[in-house]
Each structure stands twice: as C-alpha cells, then as structure tokens.
Amino acid sequence: MISTEAAGLVLSIAQGVVKLGGKIDRLMAEKDAVTSDYIIPMPQVRRGPGGVEKKNELKALLQNTEDQIPDPLSPNRDEIKDLLLQDPSDPAQVGKWYKQFFPEKDIQPIIEPDTEFVKALQSAFPSMDLEDESTRYAAFCISAGRDEREIGYPFRAAMVVVDVLAEFGAENTTLFVHDDNVRPIVQSVLKRFSNPDLDTFTSWSPLLRSALSATLNGVLDSKESWQGENQWVNAVLNALATAREEAGDDYLLGLFQGKGYRLLISEGLSEAASLLDDEDAGHFEQIAGDILKQAAPLVQANQHNFREFFQEHWGDLFRAGLGSLEKHGPDILKDDSPLLRVTLMAMIKELSNTPNTDLISHETLYNLADSAISAVAVNPDLVTPDVDSPWMKTLIGSVIKTAADQGVRKLFSKKSFESMVNDSLKVFSDHSELLVKKPGLLQELTGNILKQVSAIESFGTEAVATAAVEGALNAVAENPKLLDTNYAELVSGFAGKLARLVADKSLTKIQASDIAAAGAEAVLLNPDIFIKYENKLTEAVVDAVLEAAEDNDANLLYGATLVDLVLQLIDTVSCYGLAMVDGGPVDALMGKLKEVLTAGLTKAEAELGRQLDLPALPAVLSGLVAATARGELSEIDPNDQKFKDLFSDLALRAVA
C-alpha cells in the first residue's frame, strides 16, 4: 500500500505531466501552422497584340476606308473615330472594335509564369525529377519569413516546462520548503508564476514583466508572513495592498519599473513618515493608499522613465494627496486651532480641484487666498476669538465679507487691498460710532466701489478705488447723516466713471485719485444738492472740464491745472449748482459749463504771459463759471467787452 501523501504526490505529478503534454501539443501545433511553407501560384497574363498596336491598326482602317462605298465601318465610323482621338483611349473599347475588324489577329496567348518556371528549371537542370512531389514542393514553396516575435519556439517550449513545474511547486511547497515563515511566500510566488500560460508570451518584455509581477504580488499576498513590528513598514504595505486591490496586479510592477517609482514609494513615503508622529500612522496609511490608488492607472499607462512620468503626472499625484488630505484632514487636524483647520481645509480643497496645468500660476494663488478668506467669511468668529469689542468684530467681519464677495483677484493686488483696508480701518478706529450705527458700511462702500472699478481692467484703477473709499469714509465721518442716504452708491458710481477715464487715458491715475477723493468729500459742501442730483453735478463738472481740455489746441488744461480746476468747479457748483440747473435737466449743466470754459480758455491763450499764468487759470475759469451762474455775464464770448473786463479782473485777483 502507498500512503495517501505519496498517492497525492503521484497524482500531482501525473496531472503535471498530462498538462505538460497538452501545452506542448498546442505550442507545436502553433509552430506548424505558423512556420509551414505555402505554395502560391502566380496568376497568368496574356501576350497578344498591345493596346497601342490595336489603336494604330484601327486608325489605319479608318483612313483606308474613308472613301469606300458602302462604308465598311458604317454606322460606327464616328464612334470609332471619337474613341481613337482620346489619349489614352479606353483599351476595352479599342479591343472590342479590334476584335470585330481584325478577328484573325486578335489572338490572346496566355503566359503561365509557373509553367515557364518549370520549363526553365527542366532546361537548366535536366536531371531534376519534377514529377516528384517533394521536388516540385521545394521549387515552389514560400517560407514563412521572419517571425517578428522576440521569443522563439524553443524558449517557449522551455517556458511550458517552467510553467508546469511552478504550478506543481505551488501545490507541493511543503516538499521543498520547511521554514513555516518562508513557505507561504514561496507558495504565493509560485502560484502567481504559474497562473498565466508562460508559453503564450512572444516577446521578452511582457514575459519579464509577468515574472516580476508574480514575484512582487506573491510577496505582497503573503505579507502577514513577513510583516514586522515597525508600524510604518506595515502602513506602507497595507497602503500598497489597498491600492493594488483597486488597481490590479500590474500596479505593483509599474511602481517598480525604474528608480523613480522606488523612490516614490520607499524614500518619498519614508520621508513623509518621519515627519509625522507614530499616532498618525493610521492616517498616513490612508493617505498613502489614496495617492497610490490615484497613481495606479497613470503608472500602468506610463511608457517612459520616472522623470517623464513625474513631469507629466506630478500634479495628479499632488492632487491625489490633497484630495486624501481633504478626506482625512479633519481627523489629523482635530487638535489644532479651528481657524487653521478651516483655512487649511479650504485651501486643500481648492488645490485638489485645480487642474495640473494651473497649479503653478498666480491664478492659483488668488484662488487659494479666496478660498481661505471665503472659509473664514462663513464663520468670522474664528478670526476674532480674542477681540472683545463688538464693533471691531463687526468691522473685521465686514472687511472679510467684502473680500470674500469680490474675490482677491478683483482687489487688483494684495498690497492695494491691504492699504485700502488699513486706511479704512484707520478712519473707522477714529469714528467707531459709525459702525455702531451701520455695521455693514465698510462692506457697502468698499464692495460697491470695488465692483464698479474692478470691472475696468487698467493699471492704476486701484488708486482711484482707494482714494474714493478713503474720501467717502472721511465724508461719512464728517457727516454721519450721509449714512441714511444712497451716498455709498453715488460715490461708487463716480469712482467707476473716473476709473473708466483712467482706462481710456483721459486722466492719469494721480489726477483721478485726487478727483475721486475730492468728489467723495464734495458732498460735504452741500449735501442736499449733491444727494438730490445723485452726484450728477460732480460728473457734469468732470465731463465739462475734460471736453474743454480736449478741444483746447493750446493744451492749457493738464496735470495739476486740470485737477485744480475740477476741485474749484466742484466748490462753485456746490454754491451755484441749483441756479445753473435752473429747474432744467441736470445734463444741460455740462453744456453750459463747457461753453464758459471754452470761451475762458480762448481768452486765456491770448492773455498768458501778459496778465495770467497757468496756476491762476483754474481760479479765473471757476470765477467765470460763478459769474455766469450769478447772471453777471449775458454774452459768453471771449471778444465781448464785458467778458474781457471780467476776465481781466479775475486774473488780476488770482495772480495777486
């Protein structure tokens, strides 16, 4: 009797032998089918007269029978003539007529190239027995030619043996390996090694990949057998195993193809591990697993070395890490400051949603700042846990909400935003009662102004916005009654207009800033009139001055003179605006102002250097406007004597 164990072994051997036979049979059958010779006949061709010869004979026939009665070519003469005039004529048609008129010449002998070859062979080698089938076979056979696969049949036959032996080894590992710890590893590797039919590999690369993959995956399959006490090693292994579960066995192989992948999972992760304390091993494992899972399809698709892979996909890996951090971050950061947690998580989320190509760009920085500010804006208490003053809390919240609503990008630059907010805060710190009365003021003012101005993309518009905000806040501080009006809206509309003029290069940013500040504060001169006309008086002044300056060929209105004139005219309008409008439409004011300014400038051209200099010009012109508003000038004409006298009088006072 043989033991059960021995019987099992024998059956296993028998099974292996039968499997070996089957596989070798298949492989040899493939070899015969692929490499056997063919015999391919060579098709026949015809000899006989050529197309040109046929055409020439038909042409001659046409010519020779031209005058014959009856016409032997009737009724086809014209058709044949037309056919022969073509070049090339259709050979099939030419052949048809040729056959009809020259049947005796239309002999079509056939050439059989194979028969000609046999004749030549017989003639050259008379002793060769071409009746013999094997001789004829040798004469005609066409070999298979180059097999473009890298691995030949001898090696593939050897692989069949290896395959069967591996399978046998996997089933009978106890016979060869006695160490209980090593056995599961060997068994796993052999089992995986025997899984694919190794003989089906026809090139080296996939075969070697398969072998390496079997080894790596086999080792990982049996990780319980060799995991140690180092929890970081265990964490990395578990992360790899998790990634492999989703990505498939090829994943591990991909990671090990090249130095870079080794770096990625060994040095890279080890370094990351050293930066975290032991308690974070669990989180690290989860994050590493997520990164590896994300990397899996990229690694598999990669045909290049690690450098190229990293250049192409670092963003994907980075985002995978961020995505994972987003998921596990709350746990990791649970003991840290809530503010840090909220802002970090917001920024991580933003980054994880950013396409690779945008990761390194100023746009991303804006978006990051926005996301952080937006996160805080949802819960501003996080920023002000130590601020006791309610109004200061409100103010900070207001600033944050403004920034969140507008977006950092629309604040033009971080610096200008800071300066704007700082200036605003300075005003508010001096007049904290404003916020008690209307907590959302800063937000309303800065928000509206920024909205208007930021729609215009031009260098320098931020200066206009800053000046407008500052001027408006000063005005409100001086006259809190403005809080009950639509003042913020008026100022923002004016700031938007000035920003457009800067963008059009009608004003420099310095001029516009001065005008913006003055415009914002002009309300204080006569709040009722400015509120009533919704600041259109100020706009009319600016428009009139700019148009008059543009029409003036001598270019007397520019720089400080222009700004000074606007400021003085705003004063004048605050005094005489109602009289000038005189119940009519406010738009008419601009026309009237321009008329006076144009006449004054014409006169000034003649008087400059005589009784007038440029710094005095704004005072003279605003004096002319005031006189007109008072009705002292009936005729606005630089040649009018009364106009001349008034001009001289004003110039004298201005220069004095």
Binding site: D32, P41, P43, V52, P91, T115, E116, C141, A144
Partner: protein, 293 residues
C-alpha cells in the same frame, strides 16, 4: 524478518509509483500529439492542393495545346474536392480551438490563399476578412494580408479581356501597395521575390494593354526597374553572362529568383515590340537582357 518485510513494502511502493508514472507518461504522449497532428494534416493537404493548383503534371497540355495549369482553368471535380476538404478542415479546427488565436489566424491565411488559387474569390475575400491581423506572426502572412485586396483583384482579373480604365486604376493601386510591402521584406526573400514578380507582371500587363505609348513606357520602366532591385549583383552577373544555370552553386530560392526572371524579361521584350516603345532601364543587366526585340 522485519527488515525483509519493510524492504518488500518499499519495493512495492516504488513499483506502484512507477506504474502510475508510466501511465501518466502514456497519457502525456497521447495528449501531446492530438492538436499538432490535426495541424500537420491540414498543412500537408492544403499544400498538396496548392501545388495541384500551381501546376498539374509538368509538360502536359490541355485541349488547346497550351501548357496546363490549374490556375488558368476551372478546377476539375477531383481538384475541387481537394480544396473543399482542406478548407473544411481548417474551418473545423478553428471552431474546435477558438482560443488558439495565432494558430487559427495562420490557418485562416492558408485557407484564403487556397481559395484564391482555386478561383474562389468571394470565399477568399471572406477568409481574409476573418483574419485578426494582430495575431499574425510571420513576415509572409503579414505581407499577404496587407496586400489582400490587390491579390483578390489580380487573381480574379480576366487576363484574356482588355483592361478597362477602372482596371488601370486598380492596377495603379496594386503597384503602389505591393511596392510598399516589398520594401519592408528584405529579411524574408521568398515572399519578397514572389510579390516583386507579381508586381512586375501587373506592370507589364498594364503596359501591354494601354493604348498610350507614354503610359506603356511608364508602366514598363516602373515595373522592370522595381523588379530589378530584388536581384543581387551576383544574380545579375549570372543572369547576364552565364548561360549554364547548372553551374550555379546556390540555394533553390536563388535559383528560383533567377530562373523565374526569364519569363518576365521575355514578356518585357514583347511589350516593347508590340507597343513600339523605346525604354531605358536603371539596371544595365536588365537593359541588355530585355534588349531590342
């Protein structure tokens, strides 16, 4: 006594193992040949049918006195039986072994050539269409697959009729397609030589059929110039100077290339004569061999 009993048991155990092992070996031998035998049978029978199609009885002639060759005639009843049996065997094998892709596709190519040789052009086309080219392994099979449309056209073209203008367009496509393949076959001279010769015949046929002297000259020169490139300097020297091929000490494959050229050269001379063209070829040897007729 005990030792003797133990020895006896061990002996019997070894005997039993040996018996089982021998039985399994017999099984292996039985299983190791089944598929291969089928393929070998298919290859042998299809080659026999192909050689019948190529030339049936050296030197025999048909009723018109022309040399007999299966390709030029409808297959006889017995010939039909041969190709049909071979083709059916290939179909049966493929159906029984659907997972053996490389084997099956090689056999499918063989089937297509067999059908082509027996004038079964539609069936040949269907067989080509069933080939999965990614599983073709050899230069010959890949090249034949790549020029399959030109093969079906050229085998099926009625050579006794004059070519129509549309046939000339197909000829032009075949000349281009074949040359592309030929250029990549220098390491597989058998199939290269076959396709190059076929290309030369197509060009000569077009040169003979055309009614334009200029086109005849173009086809002729293109056909011969490209054909001449497959010949080595040694080939050309022997072809030109040595009238005794029996003195060539070369392989059958080289003998075949040189001897088959004689029919091409002869036909090129006929084309020159009947079409009245004055051609100059790149190969000095071919110019001399074709010569003025």
């Amino acid at each position: 006594m005990n030792r003797s009993k133990t020895s006896s048991l061990i002996f019997r155990k070894k005997q039993s193992l040996l018996v089982i092992f021998i039985i399994s070996l017999i099984f292996m031998i039985m299983t190791a040949c089944a598929t291969r035998n089928d393929v070998q049978d298919i290859v042998a029978k299809s080659n026999a049918a192909l050689i019948t199609a190529t030339i049936t009885g050296t030197g025999s002639t048909d009723s018109t006195g022309m040399p007999y060759a299966g390709i030029g005639k409808d297959p006889t009843a017995s010939e039909s039986k041969a190709w049909m049996a071979s083709s059916a065997k290939i179909d049966a094998f493929i159906e029984a072994h659907p997972d053996q892709k490389v084997t099956n596709n090689a056999l499918r190519m063989r089937q297509a050539i067999l059908l082509l040789s027996y004038k079964q052009y539609n069936l040949a086309k269907a067989a080509f269409n069933m080939v999965e080219p990614q599983h073709l392994a050899t230069a010959r099979d890949k090249a034949l697959y790549n020029v399959r449309d030109h093969l079906v056209w050229w085998f099926g073209l009625n050579k006794k009729a004059d070519m129509s203008l549309s046939e000339f367009r197909k000829a032009d496509m075949a000349l281009n397609g074949l040359q592309t393949e030929i250029d990549g076959l220098n390491e597989s001279p058998d199939i290269r030589d076959y396709l190059a010769e076929m290309r030369a015949w197509i060009a000569l046929n077009a040169a003979l059929n055309t009614t334009s002297e200029a086109k005849a000259k173009t086809y002729l020169e293109d056909g011969i110039n490209h054909y001449a490139r497959i010949f080595t300097d040694e080939d050309l020297k022997e072809l030109k100077n040595n009238p005794k091929p029996s003195e060539w000490n070369v392989s059958m494959q080289i003998v075949r290339r040189r001897l088959r050229a004689k029919a091409v050269i002869k036909h090129a001379g006929h084309v020159i004569e009947t079409q009245g063209i004055d051609s100059v070829f790149e190969s000095e040897a071919f110019s001399k061999l074709i010569g003025p007729q």
